[in-house]
Symmetry: C3
Subunit: 365 residues, 3 copies
């Protein structure tokens, strides 16, 4: 008990300016932007960390450019695919190379248009990669590290079968991420959720900690769970005897920069990415991954579509979690002991997030 | 005529700062918040004078708390009724005593949670009473006076049968209240309204006054009504001969702080409360009250539902009055003689409204 | 080619403050406000150059007043037509002379109301004329010039059969007007539009110019059109061979202050007025005019309704042009050679637009 009291002290000390100012997220990371299966030849607009991005697939490869034609400010995502390897603005046919954003033709000014190739009309091109069923875009000011630095290693393993769901949700990305990291809320908010209805479900935890894993990348949540119904003074007892809970299952929870949360189940893992969109919205990218045998693959897909997606990602995450996240209004806030999970995440991410170099070259990669 | 001219002088003299600044209403009064019949065990959110309030009924009694859990800023009105006499935040099960807003349990931190009972997490509790079919909430900084100070005495009489209608309307509360107090508009705006269609209806009034009643609480409107059709120079005459108007009925009109208007009919009274919500909305609380015999009670209810509610509160108040109130755009304004009713109300309410004490203790009761 | 390069220099020189600041348009001009056929006895509200205007027809003539009763700020367009030649505010029956905006009666204050005729409650009356099937309103601070100064002369000719379409569109009026003036966009954006599908269609132009016409009122666009498919380096050729284009038709394009664009076809003319509404909307007033024989009149009307309106004004102007205009986001912008059309328009309109006199008398006519 001494232990818990001291934890509660950390909660109220210090503020972390990098985290506090990251309204649009931590820059200089690879972020998942959409499901690979959703991207075809047709341009798609997404907003990431406040930047408008147009994604497009060409000859099998994914590309990303800043979604604004510098001529008259029309979104390139309204444009056409006039020639292979390019995108043309719908308005005047300014045509950009998908690889580097260079203006390679201004169709309505003829082949000799002197504006072609000028640096002043070059569009920012974002580094793009595809891994684990997702399109990843690097948003930052420093040169991009290898994609393997930022995709959870488990998702890069051979035989991974990732099942993906992406949706825009209300609330700053930090509210979404903190809700995931938050140790205590599940015990009350999700107590009757169908996904866990038959599972043994803790009432509260003691000795909550977030500890850095060996690889230095994950912050793993630990604590001692209490499962018995408790008596709260004169109020009565809660949650009463829940005789119908027979299932078990020890899940572990971990967080990682820039905005990744992982729930490790016995045979599969659930990843949630809280990708910043603007100050009041985030993209919830949910990936359930398993490494099944050839026979198990069809079963896993069925299990995902019939159970994980509707019960966990829709009922639990959208209807319960995001209902809270979208109504949250902090600061001010008053924290209690289990919030050590939230404050440790804030402190650690604030201290270890990649920094933007002092004098950025041209602000876009 | 001398008389009217002088009235017109008052109109243009002076401004009343207390009134001018009361965008969110006069504090330190009891306000009706909803119909008693609408409040049950389930929490209800209302906004009063810019403050978010959650109302709830427990063991027959009504309670009101500030509608924000200080933990993570989620509205308590989304919460559950976990134990008698309390409300629990839906997010983490922080449980508050309805009587005083004290945190009596933080369910997901176990029974020994050290945060319980701390003053810093106590929620403001509002004084609540029920009278005349309404839930009354005291909003203010000074200690609440007895409810009887603020509920019109007539509504407190034994045998009162109040019929209640409540709806949120557009427009600052002062626009709504001034429209009620406004002497002249009825003669034009409501001239063809079904509610008064067969009643003798004045064309204009002279010697309009608002005079303080003996009890010092009501401002009663007086004036000499002119009923004959008038000739307006070369324009023609108005309103012409209205031979179908055969009904009579002398109604009297009176206003009272903080935002109450009363129309006294021969056998019943109509009360309208213009409760401030935010700068651009008010709650229109309409109470029609009669003191019928046992036999007359059913007839009164029928009369209200078949006539008063649809013809007065919906057609006349909502479709005619509030159509104007929601489009009003003042200042600037240019007033004419009958507006002495409005300016007297402004001056009197500005001068006599309860003041907030100089150094409020903690800003909430 | 020398020629074109020099044109491109003009593009990037200088900024024109009058144009840059005309967010709500150029004042001191006659603007078309609605179709004559749409205006009857019933008051109609329009917003022109940021000013609220109520239009009404009385005894065959159109009138326009500022759409705000100075009493309590309610729009006069909600009012009634109580007496000939007047409009009465719906709220208290303040009655205004349509000719000059004088308060001629305050019905609910009786015939002797001293406020009548006072200058302080007089409403601004706008000069109004009807020409070419449109209601024209003068918005300005200087005295209005004759309407003939501002209505294109062609539309004033005897035998004109004007066909009118009016709709509010998104985007500042300058975006709409610049899109019309813009030389290059049609070649790409409208390349497949049904209206021009079978017409020979240029690929680009050289030597683009906007030259002032003899009357000093019109800025006429010239240039040498190139019709052959072009090869754009390694990208490929565009637009390919368009064998189905057999129609011809030389149209000429011209712009005029305050916001008029004209397309002269062989036998008829298309006028587009980009009337400023507020900073983010404009009124697109489109008038197709022909001077047919008696027999040709019915055919012209059929041609307009079956072809010009659906294919040009709806598909081409609304679905293609305004889709771009509503998404445009400038400054910043980066211009190319054909934009000499846009910059010449900016410069010329900035330099020659009527000025508001230094010390305006009462700001409204």
């Amino acid at each position: 008990m001494e232990d818990r009291q001291s934890a509660s002290k950390i909660v109220v000390t210090g503020q972390w300016p990098e985290y506090a100012e990251a309204h649009l997220g931590f820059r200089n990371y690879w972020y998942p932007a959409m499901a690979s299966s959703s991207l075809g030849k047709r341009p798609q607009a997404v907003k990431l960390l406040g930047e408008d991005v147009v994604l497009v697939r060409d000859n099998g490869r994914a590309y990303a450019l800043n979604d604004r034609c510098p001529h008259r400010g029309v979104p390139l995502s309204m444009g056409r695919r006039q020639f292979p390897g390019t995108i043309s603005c719908a308005y005047h046919g300014w045509t950009y190379d998908l690889k580097d954003g260079n203006l390679v033709a201004a169709l309505t000014d003829g082949p000799d248009s002197p504006i072609c190739g000028k640096r002043s009309v070059r569009i920012a091109a974002y580094p793009v990669e595809e891994r684990a069923g997702l399109i990843w875009v690097y948003i930052g000011d420093a040169p991009a590290p290898p994609i393997e630095e930022d995709v959870p290693e488990e998702l890069l393993k051979a035989g991974t079968v990732p099942m993906v769901m992406v949706e825009t949700r209300k609330g700053n990305w930090r509210y979404g991420m903190e809700n995931a990291v938050d140790e205590a809320h599940a015990k009350y908010l999700h107590r009757r959720t169908p996904f866990y209805f038959f599972s043994k479900f803790p009432v509260y935890s003691t000795d909550v900690r977030m500890e850095v894993a060996e690889d230095g990348k994950w912050l793993v949540r630990t604590g001692k769970q209490v499962f018995d119904s408790q008596t709260y003074g004169e109020l009565g007892s809660w949650p009463g005897r829940e005789w119908w809970r027979v299932g078990g299952g020890v899940s572990t929870f971990a967080a990682r920069l820039p905005a990744i949360f992982r729930i490790s189940h016995k045979t599969w893992s659930d990843y949630q990415f809280f990708v910043p969109v603007d100050e009041h919205h985030h993209l919830a990218v949910m990936v359930s991954a398993k490494w099944p045998s050839r026979l198990g693959k069809a079963w896993w897909k069925l299990y995902y579509h019939a159970y994980v997606r509707p019960f966990h990602h829709i009922m639990l995450n959208r209807w319960e979690d995001d209902r809270m996240v979208s109504m949250m209004s902090i600061p001010p806030e008053k924290l209690f002991r289990p919030d050590i999970s939230v404050t440790t995440w804030r402190k650690w991410s604030s201290e270890t997030a990649r920094r933007t170099p002092e004098a950025p070259a041209t602000s876009k990669p």
